[in-house]
């Protein structure tokens, strides 16, 4: 098992009186792709918000890279290396693609590494480079998702938290986005994602977890699609069969 990067220990989060996360425990290891699956209202997005510090847990602790982060601000969490890819992308719609990427590097403004990071994003997403001066609100959903992922990369994160990266995308783009997620992971960035597209998520995740409203999370290591840490490519291959199988079933309600 790789070194733990993010650990939830007995986390309880409330929205007012509503108890959303109940004694959640899990660990994400360095270099893993972990996807959290679950239906609507099962606490997936709340988990994301708890990681980013948008909501604070009432009890429990969150460790990132060995230090407790549950009391520090969102900004500080981003500085320490957690970057979000937000649900529904949330680009700045009337700004250009480049300006969106620039905002992603907010912690470092226009530092010397800015150009390096920009080049990295452009080499991962040649399409984003082509569109760098276009107003981001006029891009297609898939292109916007690429910009959103690129924007997260501009913060030089160690962990990227993605909230439903496949939402609202055409199947072709879903495939592309998931390929790129694996590529980013291959370069050493840990990925934690929340997904409803179970087929896709299972096909690339090293450690899928599920999220249910009542019982909270499955145990902290629910099912690993590979006994030891593998490269994303292998993992993806080893997970293909259950995925195919799942795909042949009728869609669930």
């Amino acid at each position: 098992m790789p070194e733990p990067l993010l650990t939830f220990k007995d986390v309880n989060t409330y929205y007012g009186d509503l108890h959303v996360l109940k004694d959640v425990n899990y660990t994400i290891g360095q270099g893993e792709i972990v996807s959290l699956l679950g239906g609507n209202a099962s606490g997936k997005s709340t988990t994301m918000k708890t990681i980013m510090g948008v909501v604070r847990p009432a009890t429990g602790s969150i460790m990132f890279d060995g230090t407790a982060i549950e009391r520090i601000s969102t900004a500080e969490r981003v500085r320490r290396g957690i970057a979000p890819v937000l649900e529904a992308r949330r680009l700045f719609p009337r700004m250009t693609v480049f300006e969106n990427l620039e905002m992603g590097a907010y912690t470092r403004k226009r530092g010397p590494e800015f150009q390096q990071d920009l080049d990295r994003v452009y080499s991962l997403f040649p399409r984003v480079k082509e569109r760098q001066n276009q107003i981001s609100g006029t891009l297609s959903g898939g292109e916007q998702q690429m910009v959103a992922i690129g924007r997260a990369l501009m913060a030089r994160p160690r962990l990227i938290c993605m909230d439903e990266p496949s939402m609202g995308l055409s199947p072709l783009y879903v495939e592309q986005v998931f390929q790129i997620i694996q590529e980013i992971n291959g370069q050493g960035t840990t990925i934690f994602m929340v997904e409803q597209n179970a087929n896709m998520a299972l096909s690339i995740a090293i450690a899928p977890m599920c999220c249910k409203p009542e019982k909270s999370f499955c145990p902290d290591r629910p099912r690993r699609c590979g006994a030891t840490r593998r490269s994303a490519r292998h993992t993806s291959a080893s997970c293909r069969s259950p995925d195919r199988h799942a795909a042949s079933r009728p869609a669930r309600a």
Binding site: T74, V78, L86, R90, F92, P93, R94, E99, Y106, T107
Partner: protein
């Protein structure tokens, strides 16, 4: 016939120049209301405050009112930052910015106005500068410098603000905060800090707007209220937060008012101007250059 064509030409030109001045008064609200969603109805009061500071600089120290107002911009900027800070801590963070925030700015409007009345009285004040009296003549068209200079200064002010917003990192952050403050917070930015800067700029613009107001017409404290309706009308008509739209809407309103007061009498001009706003909103609800 000849005479009325002259009249028409002059009305159009003075409308354009007047519109240029309206753009300066409105640009601050385009930032605070259009971009930051802060209903700063006290903005005209700060414009009048700008008129009085320019008046003091001019009548007591003999400085040019426009230059003095530019030099005083940092003081207005700090005032704006302070006001935003109070507003942010007292209302915005608690989530009751809409109604109580409105009351807050309404209070500021009256406090500023009453303070000015107590200090300066209710007499009309004027400034003196070389460009207040003379006019240029181009054919049959009169270009009074008293209107032309403010119009040019106003366009320069709007242009400078637009350059700042488009080409500086902080300016782009202001645009981002206007579009999605939550997303920007998740990029590790502090939206309150960025909004404080933007609000400071909007009040700083009132310094210059005030100086050109007192060049165009004599000023007394209560005329601030006359401008509230016009300013918000221009801001909405132009499309919230769009500077280009603000200029076009300001000039349109200026021309409409000028034509109405030339051909039908000045008392009709507010009615026609607001009628124009209603038609604009009926046809294009997001304003001329709105967010769509």
């Amino acid at each position: 016939m000849d005479l009325s064509l002259d009249l028409l030409g002059n009305a159009l030109v003075s409308g354009l120049l007047l519109g240029g001045f309206y753009a300066a008064v409105t640009i601050g609200v385009s930032i605070s209301f259009g971009m930051l969603d802060i209903v700063n109805i006290a903005h005209p009061a700060f414009v009048i405050l700008g008129s009085y500071t320019a008046y003091i600089a001019n009548s007591v120290f003999g400085f040019d009112p426009i230059l003095a107002s530019i030099v005083l911009m940092p003081a207005f900027y700090l005032l704006g930052m302070a006001i935003y800070h109070v507003y942010d801590v007292s209302f915005e963070r608690r989530g009751d910015a809409s109604i109580r925030g409105l009351a807050f700015f309404f209070g500021l409007l009256f406090i500023t106005e009453v303070t000015l009345v107590l200090v300066f009285g209710v007499d009309y004040r004027l400034v003196d500068a070389p460009y207040v009296g003379p006019s240029l003549h181009v054919g049959v068209i009169d270009l009074p410098l008293r209107l032309l200079v403010p119009c040019l200064v106003s366009l320069a002010l709007v242009g400078a603000l637009q350059l700042f917003l488009s080409y500086s990192f902080l300016g782009r952050a202001v645009q981002a905060v206007a579009q999605d403050p939550m997303a920007l917070r998740l990029m590790a930015a502090d939206p309150s800090r960025i909004k404080r800067v933007a609000f400071g700029l909007s009040i700083a613009s009132a310094s210059v707007a005030g100086a050109i107001l007192i060049i165009i017409q004599p000023v007394e404290p209560s005329i601030a209220r006359d401008y509230i309706g016009r300013i918000f009308a221009i801001c909405v008509m132009g499309g919230l937060g769009s500077f280009g739209g603000t200029i076009v809407a300001a000039m349109t309103l200026g021309i409409v008012e000028s034509l109405t007061s030339t051909f039908y009498g000045p008392s009709w001009s507010p009615a026609v101007a607001f009628g124009f706003l209603l038609i604009t909103l009926a046809v294009r609800p997001s304003g001329l250059f709105g967010r769509g």
